[in-house]
């Protein structure tokens, strides 16, 4: 489709070829043509323009649509979608014209009255700073220190946060304040007390990377976003050993059965929705699971209106049907073959005897159990081989991944082994399995066949799955369902009906169709899932139950099949280039990367309001690991065992600690730190987060609106982190429920943060509360790169105009800050050593730190304190604080030595460095002398493109050759077709460019096919990055066992009445109602973006609203568009009601990220400004998300970590006085 726009409309062009002058019609009735064409001039003028520039929209939205930005007289006039995407095939729809109404309204911001045109700072702080600086001889760092040392002044400007009083300052002064705060914080508290937040790098890689790079160079903590947003489906690392890898939307076309499950595609994936609409014409059947009559139901053939949060029950019942009909009643050859080769179903599990008789599922049987020697043996799980009728160890497990012995063997080739799927015929043993569908967890007892291996009683994952799902086989003891219509026992269709509200017959039929279609189409059944199922506390279990459906039916790794998770997912396709720049891996390793949720949970003091002990979540089988434990205790444990990162890390400045360690033990500072920790002389900051020395001090937010969008527990942020007024009403934890290992201060701190800095182009809830606001260039005013997982192209941002007024690109802003910082820091900080505590990392040998997933705590003496095994790795790195700006603007020398590494694939990039020297030029003089320049945004783009396999065929091919040596499988041909192709920035500016198949991802685009994840695994037998190397149904880590979540299981939404004393769902007496409170993604915004855009406001209801059913509205006397208040312990919301019959009773929607900047009056409840959507939510951390150091359950940034889930929340709603005050 070369140049669709030009080739387009040939027919139209013909029409356009001739414009005839007027002819007055003889027909006196209607056909008048009067007058000349002079009158048309107005519209012709209106349509004229000077130039059209290609750009896109830089963060939040993951649509990655290429746009034409029109410019006339130096003014941006409007934007329209580009239509020049390369064709994806003659017999398929194309990606044109990607876009949505929000993107089409973006240019409104350019000249809008909410545009931040100049730097601003909080007036009261600026006055203090100027006064102190003058008094202290003009030393800005001393001035900042002086203010911070005075609690009264500090509290004064903190209390003014969010209450107006921003004043214009110059860039020079703003940079000076910011740089001084950084220098002071590093010197006084430590670099890890400086934090940065900026999400979704794929959407503007350079804008993200530049800030992250600055923070990484100074030793600051970059906070994760994907887990914090609760968009990370933890089930993906759990099952696939992968962060999230999903099909491009063009692959929906390949599916012949599509279930949209908790993902309202027309609203939340607007540019992609056409694929879904069009694929129906190929005979794709479409099923929608949604509690409301969502916009996508219009496209469905059937609608399953499952109650919110019950999707796991529906999925388990579907799994029951599929296991029964397609595995037990008859064996489906395709499915049996697939699960034997690509899943852990045939693997052997030890059965552990339990007190009082019976057994529980235990650990994977490994080669170590069979007597194999070596550290890797414990990571080589075992199957039963039907050929030799003996245990066998297939290739491809974690044990084969890193050691010398595994070279050439890390693959899924079973060789002569034919694994036995199940132990049928073996002696039956009763296992007790937990169920959580009733008020109190219970055990169900069901039989499995067993064999004896190495003296153990074992069964297979497959047998356990059948037991768990309640699929009976003759001769097995236990309590089994009598049939699909048995409502009493999990997990039958009838069992789920009262939970979900979906008729049992419909569930059975849809499950059958889904599997039947998979069988007939070769795996082309797809589940498109999203926030509706993923933002719950127990979403990992829900997803595992849903993914069981696609994996059992052999749909993963097939074009048109498998999971398609779309919420917050992004794909920074040139990930290697971006990550090495963003985390300054070219200068210093490792970077400080922090799990966002835990950071906010501790430092906004939400943990102080947890009123339950973690054992409320435990299985009846639990050994007591969580008993009496507060979530903060578990967090502290996860940190000290090196599972998850923890920032700030220690209870002292890591620069001082490094000095101390070096002095005490020059050769082994890490050992010194380990000993100090073990002896209790050194502590983790997370064990006393409220102590002043452990607070985060400086936070920079860019490309984000933390306080208006993602900040779950918004009022906790305001009170404790920022120290300003909040509408928080929750009670603190009672003494008997408080943490054991985490220090409790009777008085909770308010105002931990010294400086909140934001960079934005518009006024948001974050800028309103910031101390310094820097005016950012918009996405039509800079150069950058953009990719997504929704399509396979990379394309460019190009400035349509220069940044207007005093706005600057993020790139220039951070360079400016870095320059002033370096000047101030050079003489004050000089060159220092910094002690970084790095967690045990995924895709490294660290993942073998915990054999068997057996938890041993050095603190209680269960294990020795060994860095990198039972605790974090302690690494001393050097920071040259005077050289930060120089390093920021040059590609560092570490790449020459270490190359690049992504997902354990290392590539020597010396040719690329030579190339970049020529393309970008080299730095002359200073620490970066002779290094490639990264001093402009375009040069940074070139570096990203050159270093990544997706954009550089040589790098991809070398990466595949590396993998060939490890796997012994042919792979390099996947990218060889593009070995000579190197995408340059100008290429991305002229047209979206398809990327190259690369080992950075799991799917193949070879030969121009559509991207679907895991096709390389399935077709080339490359292992998944898991314990077995296969997709995991079973997880045997101790903590998974404590939770009773070894297998897919249904866990209902949390009971907020039981946990927090909120009213029970339903009426609370007169004109008040307790309802489930959900915050799905909105039609008129991308998160908070566009919520303030006049065009979007005009097309919607012009301000915050809450959707409720007609029945609920009637109960509290509310009619459409009336003002209501929603109140729970977390805060208060004031908004207008949208009353509609499309909502189910008992649930309200406040569409996501409606903030308090537009049309929010004061609340009747407390007289304060109504809150944002997240004023009613808060964080709750699930312990299983904290596991680390064990196979696929190992940390990587944005790959694994606790989610900031929020959907289990409830609220009271009531009609309020219709007289509102602002």
């Amino acid at each position: 489709m070369a140049g669709a726009a030009e080739g387009a409309g040939r027919a139209l062009l013909a029409v356009g070829g001739l414009v005839r002058r007027a002819e007055v019609s003889a027909d006196g009735r209607t056909l008048h043509q009067i007058g000349g064409r002079e009158a048309d001039a107005f519209y012709r003028d209106r349509w004229s323009y000077d130039k059209v520039v290609r750009s896109t929209h830089g963060v939040n939205c993951t649509g990655s649509c290429s746009w034409k930005v029109y410019v006339k007289d130096g003014i941006i006039t409007w934007e329209q979608q580009q239509t020049d995407y390369p064709s994806v095939g003659a017999d398929r729809p194309e990606y044109e014209p990607r876009g949505c109404p929000r993107g089409a309204a973006f240019s409104w911001y350019t000249y809008s009255p909410t545009r931040v045109r100049y730097p601003y700072a909080r007036g009261v702080l600026v006055e203090m700073f100027r006064e102190a600086k003058a008094r202290l001889g003009g030393d800005p760092v001393a001035a900042w220190a002086d203010i911070q040392a005075d609690p009264e002044r500090r509290r004064r400007y903190q209390r003014a946060r969010g209450k107006g009083g921003l004043v214009r300052v110059s860039w020079d002064e703003a940079q000076e304040i910011v740089a001084a705060a950084h220098v002071h914080t590093i010197a006084r508290h430590g670099p890890d007390r400086v934090a940065g937040f900026s999400p979704i790098p794929a959407m503007s890689m350079v804008s993200h990377a530049i800030g992250a790079r600055f923070l990484s160079l100074i030793g600051g903590s970059m906070l994760s976003f994907y887990d914090w947003y609760a968009d990370l489906p933890v089930a993906s690392p759990q099952m696939f050993g992968d962060q999230t890898d999903v099909p491009e939307s063009g692959d929906w076309w390949d599916a012949s059965y599509l279930v949209m499950w908790g993902s309202n595609v027309p609203v939340t994936r607007t540019p992609d929705a056409h694929w879904m609409a069009e694929a129906r014409y190929r005979g794709q059947k479409v099923v929608v699971v949604s509690p409301d009559y969502a916009d996508n139901v219009k496209f469905a053939d059937e609608w399953l209106p499952a109650q919110p949060g019950t999707d796991g029950a529906l999925a388990m019942a579907m799994g029951h049907v599929i296991l029964k009909e397609f595995f037990v009643d008859r064996s489906t050859p395709r499915f049996a073959d697939y699960v034997s080769r690509f899943t852990d179903l045939p693997y052997l599990i030890t059965l552990e005897p339990v007190e009082g008789g019976g057994h529980r599922p235990g650990k994977f049987v490994t080669a170590a159990d069979l007597g194999e020697a070596g550290a890797e043996a414990a990571f080589r799980p075992v199957v039963w081989d039907t050929v030799t009728d003996a245990p066998a160890v297939p290739n491809g497990s974690l044990g084969d991944r890193f050691g010398e012995a595994g070279a050439g063997r890390w693959n899924l080739d079973l060789g002569a082994i034919v694994p036995r799927l199940g132990c049928a015929g073996g002696a039956a043993v009763q296992v007790a399995l937990p169920r959580f569908d009733n008020d109190t967890p219970e055990l169900m007892t069901r039989g499995v066949p067993t064999v004896r291996v190495a003296g153990r009683l074992v069964t297979t994952v497959y047998d356990l799955m059948l037991a768990q799902y309640g699929v009976s086989r003759p001769g097995l003891p236990g309590v089994w369902p009598s049939g699909y219509d048995d409502p009493a026992v999990p997990y039958t269709p009838a069992w789920q009906e009262p939970i979900t509200g979906v008729p049992a017959a419909a569930v059975a039929r849809i499950a059958r169709e889904f599997a039947d279609n998979a069988e007939r189409s070769g795996g082309r059944s797809m589940i498109l899932m999203g926030a509706g199922t993923n933002h719950w506390f127990h979403s990992d279990t829900t997803y595992r139950a849903m993914l069981a459906l696609t994996t059992l039916t052999g749909c993963q790794g097939v074009n048109g099949g498998g999971w398609a998770h779309y919420v917050g997912q992004e794909k920074c396709r040139p990930v290697t280039g971006w990550s090495h720049l963003a985390f300054a891996l070219d200068w210093v390793r490792p970077p400080r990367q922090m799990i966002g949720t835990a950071f906010w949970y501790l430092h906004t003091d939400q943990w102080r309001y947890d009123r339950y002990s973690a054992d409320v979540l435990a299985s009846p089988h639990a050994k007591g690991e969580f008993t009496g434990r507060h979530t903060a205790d578990l967090l502290a444990k996860s940190a000290r065992l090196g599972w998850m990162p923890s920032m700030p890390t220690f209870d002292r400045n890591p620069l001082d600690l490094a000095e101390e360690a070096r002095a005490a033990d020059p050769d082994d500072p890490a050992g010194y730190v380990a000993r100090e920790l073990a002896d209790g002389r050194l502590g983790f900051a997370c064990a006393d987060p409220d102590a002043e020395r452990n607070w985060p001090r400086v936070l920079t937010v860019w490309r984000a609106n933390l306080l208006g969008s993602s900040a779950k527990g918004n009022e906790y942020f305001l009170r404790h982190l920022l120290g300003t007024d909040a509408s928080l009403r929750a009670r603190e934890t009672e003494p008997d429920k408080r943490p054991r290992d985490v220090v409790w201060h009777d008085e909770a701190p308010e105002g931990k943060l010294d400086l909140l800095l934001s960079l934005d182009f518009r006024m948001t809830s974050t800028t309103l509360f910031s101390d310094v606001v820097l005016p950012a260039a918009t996405w039509y005013e800079k150069h950058d790169l953009n990719t997504t997982d929704m399509h396979p192209f990379i394309h460019a941002f190009t400035p349509a105009i220069s940044p207007p007024w005093q706005t600057r690109t993020d790139f220039d802003a951070f360079h400016g800050i870095a320059k002033v910082f370096s000047e101030l820091a050079g003489p004050r900080l000089g060159v220092r050593e910094d002690l970084v505590a790095a967690p045990l990392l995924h895709d490294t040998p660290d993942a073998m730190a915990t054999p068997g997933g057996v938890v041993r705590d050095w603190k209680t003496g269960e294990a020795p304190a060994v860095p990198g095994r039972t605790m974090p790795k302690f690494v001393v790195v050097e920071r040259d604080y005077g050289a930060v700006a120089a390093k920021l603007g040059a590609l560092g020398p570490l790449l020459d030595k270490l190359g690049t590494t992504t997902k354990a694939v290392t590539v020597d990039v010396k040719p690329e460095i030579e190339f970049l020297k020529k393309v970008n030029g080299t730095v002359r003089g200073g620490v970066a002398d002779g290094r490639p320049r990264l001093d402009t945004d375009i040069r940074a783009c070139e570096a990203i493109l050159a270093l990544a396999g997706t954009t550089n065929g040589r790098v991809a091919t070398e990466g595949f050759e590396f993998l060939e040596r490890r796997t012994g499988r042919k792979l390099a041909d996947l990218s060889a077709e593009h070995e000579g192709k190197q995408i340059r920035f100008a290429d991305c500016q002229s047209r979206p460019v398809p990327v190259i198949t690369s080992p950075e991802w799991s799917g193949s685009e070879h030969g121009g096919r559509r991207y679907s994840p895991f096709t390389i695994n399935v077709e080339r037998l490359k292992p998944w990055h898991t314990l077995t190397g296969r997709q995991h149904f079973y997880l045997d880590h101790d903590w998974m066992q404590e939770l009773g979540e070894e297998l897919p299981v249904f866990r209902p939404p949390l009971d907020m009445h039981k946990l927090f004393g909120e009213p029970r769902l339903g009426g609370n007496g007169e004109l008040e109602l307790t309802v489930r409170y959900l915050t799905p993604h909105s039609k008129w915004s991308i998160h908070s973006e566009y919520q303030d855009n006049l065009i979007m406001l005009t097309l919607s209801r012009g301000g915050p609203t809450m959707w409720m059913s007609e029945a609920d509205a009637a109960k509290i006397g509310v009619t459409d568009n009336e003002w209501i208040e929603a109140v729970n312990r977390n805060g208060v919301v004031v908004c207008r009601a949208v009353v509609t019959h499309k909502m189910p009773e008992g649930t309200v929607y406040m569409y996501h990220a409606q903030e308090r900047v537009i049309d929010v009056p004061k609340a009747e409840t407390n007289g304060r400004r109504g809150g944002i959507h997240n004023s009613l939510t808060r964080l709750l951390i699930k312990p299983s998300h904290l596991i680390g150091g064990y196979a696929q359950l190992s940390f990587a940034f944005n790959y694994l970590g606790p989610t900031g889930n929020q959907r289990d929340e409830v609220t009271v709603i009531r009609r309020r006085s219709q007289e509102v005050e602002y």
Binding site: M1, A4, G9, A11, L12, A14, V15, G16, G17, L18, R20, S25, D27, T30, L31, H32, A39, Y43, W78, E79, T83, A104, A105, P113, T114, V124, G162, G165, L166, S256, R280, R282, G283, Q284, K285, D295, A300, D301, E302, P503, R509, R512, D516, S521, L768, K1083, L1094, L1099, S1100, R1101, G1102, G1103, V1139, H1141, R1156, V1157, I1158, K1162, R1168, Y1222
Partner: protein, 458 residues
């Protein structure tokens, strides 16, 4: 035969996701200026819903379009030009501000300029764009989007009100689809007939209906005359404005903005040849149910040698004739018979047509076991779709369910036919023939509707 050419559009509502991108890109390009804040040349309505301006389809109230006199002639429902001239200073049939909405903005500046010493977070309050005063937002161009407002608003939907067995909308029975609308660029435009100044003209070469901004005197009779309420009054210039079919783009071979930016890829543009001499009679057929066929009967087959000769005789150039032959509009309206006119009963001979939407099957179907294992049954179960056929007929065929059912059956049959191919099974010609088509036609229609390449849409 007097051959004329008409630029026309078909929108496939079955693909419409209701995203309003068309509205926004149109607004940004054409009406993003003062005096026309409330003007949406393109808008998207949720159905059921009241539309924009609200209840515009209630012609008893708004008096738009034509009526047929007892003698079989047509006259504007609001009266002819003489009556208009007599009542020129009083036009009671005009939607008022509350039927559109009062445009508003916010005091955004306050977010930046709020002084120190405040007790609370600054907020931007809504302000009327007409008066500058504080306001409460109570209505907009799209107030009932996606069933917002529920029965309270949907009950005012003039099409829903016409349904004989109207039932209260409930959660279990909810239905929804979207209806994007632009000016219909009618063959028999009642706006033009209503204009006392003769300022509204239909371009001879392509039929685009425009307001001559020099001649318009702001009488606003056109606003009344247009039954689709697609002529707006610019309260700053005092002149009427309307959708121009993006003629500056069309003239250089670019699709209209609303078409090219349609994310659902559901808009088709093309040229239609018609016999101008037969328009009057076709618009005046007695039975409203015959209007659909009557309008189709004025379209001329561009492949017919006689038509081609007549077109040449009428000075229509060859490349225009070629364009008419390649027109997807011809295929959708005449060949596959899946596109229908919007409210033919207004007798304006509208030239923006629609493919009606499929919708989920209702529970009845599940409960009767009608579908069972066989997906083909499901696709064929047109009677059991959630959107009542009568409602669609109220929009597209003056209430005649026959043509609507026919379209839905053809779409459903196409899905069933293609499913077999998708799964590598043998083609089943009978699926095509039951809806009066051949397998080849099924393939061609599928290509046009599903694959819908850019160069084949326009």
């Amino acid at each position: 035969m007097r051959v004329m050419a008409q630029m026309s559009m078909v929108m496939n509502l079955d693909k419409c996701i209701g995203c309003h991108t068309c509205s926004v890109t149109c607004k940004q390009a054409w009406t993003n200026r003062s005096g026309v804040e409330y003007v949406w040349f393109n808008n998207v309505e949720s159905r059921p819903g009241q539309g924009y301006p609200r209840t515009y389809e209630d012609q008893d109230r708004w008096q738009g379009g034509w009526t047929r006199t007892r003698s079989g002639r047509l006259k504007p429902r609001a009266g002819g030009r003489i009556k208009k001239l007599l009542s020129i200073f009083a036009n009671p049939k005009l939607p008022a501000m509350q039927d559109y909405y009062e445009p508003w903005t916010y005091d955004y500046e306050h977010l930046l300029t709020a002084p120190a010493g405040g007790t609370d977070t600054p907020v931007a309050r809504p302000k009327s764009l007409l008066t500058g005063e504080d306001t409460k937002v109570t209505w907009s161009a799209n107030w009932d989007d996606s069933l917002a407002g529920g029965n309270e608003i949907a009950a005012g939907d003039p099409v829903l009100r016409q349904l004989s067995d109207q039932v209260r909308q409930e959660y279990e029975k909810a239905f929804l689809f979207f209806l994007p609308r632009i000016c219909e660029h009618c063959l028999n435009p009642s706006c033009a007939a209503s204009c006392p100044s003769g300022a509204i003209y239909k371009r001879a070469e392509d039929g685009i209906v425009l307001v001559d901004q020099d001649r318009c005197r702001g009488w606003r009779m056109c606003v009344t005359g247009c039954p689709y309420k697609k002529i707006y009054f610019n309260h700053r210039t005092g002149k009427a404005e309307k959708c121009t079919f993006c003629f500056p783009r069309i003239e250089i071979g670019q699709p209209t903005i609303c078409s090219e930016t349609c994310v659902g890829r559901l808009r088709y543009l093309g040229l239609m040849l018609y016999d101008a001499d037969r328009v009057g009679a076709a618009a005046a057929v007695k039975d409203e149910h015959d209007l659909y066929d009557a309008q189709r009967s004025v379209f001329l087959d561009p492949h017919d040698p006689e038509v081609v000769a007549a077109a040449r005789a009428a000075d229509i150039p060859d490349d225009w004739i070629t364009a008419a032959q390649r027109s997807p509009i011809w295929d959708l309206i005449m060949k596959y018979e899946v596109a229908l006119p919007l409210h033919p009963e207004y007798r304006t001979m509208p030239m923006v047509w629609y493919i009606p939407p499929l919708s989920p099957v209702v529970d009845i179907l599940r409960d009767t076991g009608h579908d069972g294992e066989d997906l083909n049954n499901l696709f064929g179960a047109v009677d059991a779709l959630r959107i009542p056929v009568d409602y669609l007929a109220g929009l597209f065929t003056a209430g005649d369910p026959g043509p609507v059912t026919g379209v839905l059956q053809r779409l459903a049959a196409m899905r069933a036919y293609q499913r077999r191919i998708n799964l590598g099974e043998e083609r089943d010609e009978s699926l095509a023939s039951t809806v009066g088509m051949t397998g080849q036609q099924m393939d061609d229609m599928y290509r046009l509707l599903a694959i819908a390449k850019y160069e084949e849409r326009y």
